[in-house]
Symmetry: C2
Subunit: 404 residues, 2 copies
């Protein structure tokens, strides 16, 4: 008789955003006349930029003729895209990353969920708390996290690094040495960042203890301040301890188009074995490449026209972030993030729990946000709003919050 | 100090098709004047059908306007596509599969590699021999296959079901009871099939011993004979023992466009736990949906126009299969498959090994095929050619083989 992977049963409840979607659907069904503004999930609202649309059309036409048709993509992604990534995201910043250290994929969510597969089940992970749930949940599914404490809402074999207002949302080196360290900078969900020298400390620490940093830089395009690292490979020594995950979802609005990449330097080794070779094997065995037309669209993001148009999109969302930050501050809230990231992290008022504030905001303001506690125990008492709504909706949401 | 997933190191050599690609690249570099005809990897050559191209353009335009832009897709795929699949691939054949039992993905390779994750590590798998390498390799990576015997080229904890000319390529029930049974029908690599009543026997067997059949029907569109099942859900009792994997790669030429789906009936349970719920959790946590524009292209495959155009494409390839089958037979080869599948499985001449014949065919005929032994020990002495080349190249390949 077959048996299931019991680790799945340990997962408490369903995936955070599925939960929220169900709550919102129930509210809308009960209140069909209310117009709900969604500032919850990090989904973009601006259409794809004109240069990307043009490129998609061109690539679609190529697929319609035998001479220019493209079948299976190369395992690691098309050379044209990997070269553009290496040149624009790394070499232009003085970072030593070559095209063949880049693995193109269908997005950072998949990569951040799958990357743990190439590591031993015995490895101990460290995560910031609060944290993007995928990092922890995928390790639960793999059986790497021990037992769940439903009261503390923590796993026995996970090292949590609290990031709260008290420590300025900067994770501290844990007492116990981790093997894998997940860092997301600029941070989801808090919208906060660390400086380049603080990240250098983490790189030095990882090299010292023999840990790998899984560095999620999905929000890199939103960095506005000088001293915030755009990639971990700006730090000395990162080539021997870091894997970087990147996405086209937030800088180019590809949430429904799907494209991302992972960087694994060939110097990152366990004994003689490069992690690059393991991930290449996984890619070759379990993945069949991102669609050609979408890799072409990715390339368009690096053209001069594409860059200019995407810069405008980011500016549009960051203007929303400013509106939210100012609106909430004026309404008396304590607010973090929103300067180098499209997320605003606020303290819930009147000692409400995060879910209490979720219900309150949905019922009274008809606004959807994300409860901080959904991202981990240290997120309790916080709440996330995103800048990805339309400008009109963002303004209206702030009007509603003002009059609550 | 971090440790890697040691199971990866147990994998012998690299992925079959990567190996072939390297050999071919080396040959072409050494012989730049020789024109190589590729009938090896199962990649299509016809461009996407006009209806699909038109639909892609329309969907791209939708992505360019805020009112019709699509961000994150629903976890399980868009309702429009899942309904079209349920209606066309199942209900129209009298099979009781509903839209919410269908999970849209970026292809059957990913699904067939990932599906093992929802099962216990202790489960024992059974595979046909020869077999599509992904089934075995992904179980190796998970640590489910025991130790490798490099002489026999088998894993200690895998049950092999030889499929050779001796048993008409029909797998027999193994002596030891498996927990998971991989069946690919029409078969890759042999191009052979089983009848509906033979498949019913497998369904009855799986229900009796409490096994799950992972049924890969990627080549369903190529079935030309009446008595071959188009889906396992034509069999009575399949809802309690079967998962079906389907692809748009071969029926619609989506190898570089990427779309597939997995069907998990809600009646398939381990105790009270539905496998549907586990796969839904995996999809929600580790996957972010297939691109909107490509799901729309999938929908176009089910339009009357799309169906007619795809039928023509399949006929084109099956005409190639006929050319290969007849060409090889006339040249004195013993040949199987090619009637309900785009694969031709031939016996190597003069007791050559599969790789010897690979080298011989590449060097003397400048034709690339796939060595049967790359699919498992019982594939030794066989060789696979595919019907996915252009008709001109297929004819030329047969000319070359005739004059060898």
């Amino acid at each position: 008789m077959f048996k299931i992977n019991d680790n799945y049963l340990k997962l408490p409840g369903s995936y955070l955003f599925s939960n929220i979607a169900k709550k919102v659907a129930a509210f809308q069904q009960a209140n069909p006349d209310k117009e709900v503004i969604k500032l919850g999930i990090g989904d973009v609202t601006l259409p794809l930029a004109p240069k990307i649309i043009d490129t998609l059309h061109e690539a679609v036409d190529e697929m319609g003729h035998a001479e220019t048709f493209h079948g299976y993509a190369p395992d690691l992604g098309y050379e044209f895209l990997r070269t553009a990534i290496a040149d624009n995201d790394y070499k232009s910043r003085g970072c030593d990353i070559s095209a063949d250290e880049i693995f193109v994929s269908d997005g950072a969510k998949c990569d951040s969920g799958n990357i743990q597969e190439i590591f031993s089940i015995d490895n101990k992970i460290a995560v910031c708390d609060p944290v993007y749930p995928v990092y922890v949940d995928t390790n639960v599914m793999a059986g790497r996290t021990g037992t769940y404490d439903p009261v503390a809402e923590t796993w026995s074999d996970v090292i949590y690094m609290p990031c709260t207002a008290e420590n300025n949302f900067i994770p501290e080196f844990p007492k116990e040495n981790p093997d894998l360290i997940y860092l997301c900078i600029p941070n989801n969900p808090t919208g906060t960042t660390i400086t380049k020298s603080q990240l250098q400390d983490w790189v030095d620490y990882a090299n010292k203890i023999g840990a790998v940093i899984i560095y999620d830089a999905a929000y890199e395009a939103y960095i506005s301040e000088d001293d915030v690292p755009h990639t971990i490979f700006e730090c000395e020594g990162a080539r021997t301890c870091a894997i970087e995950l990147r996405s086209f979802s937030k800088n180019a609005g590809f949430t429904g188009t799907r494209l991302g990449f992972t960087v694994i330097p060939k110097d990152l080794k366990c004994g003689d074995i490069t992690l690059h070779s393991l991930w290449a094997r996984r890619h070759g065995t379990k993945y069949n490449g991102a669609p050609y037309i979408i890799q072409k669209a990715g390339l368009a993001c690096y053209s001069e026209e594409g860059k200019a148009q995407l810069k405008e999109q980011v500016a549009y969302y960051m203007n929303n972030a400013k509106v939210i930050k100012e609106g909430l501050t004026n309404a008396g809230f304590t607010v973090f993030g929103g300067v180098n990231a499209p997320y605003i992290w606020l303290k819930t008022p009147d000692k409400m729990t995060s879910w209490e504030f979720f219900d309150y905001l949905l019922e009274k303001g008809n606004i959807v946000g994300t409860p901080g506690s959904g991202f981990g125990p240290s997120g309790e008492g916080y709440f996330r709003l995103t800048a990805f709504g339309s400008h009109e909706n963002t303004l209206r949401a702030m009007e509603r919050i003002k009059s609550l």
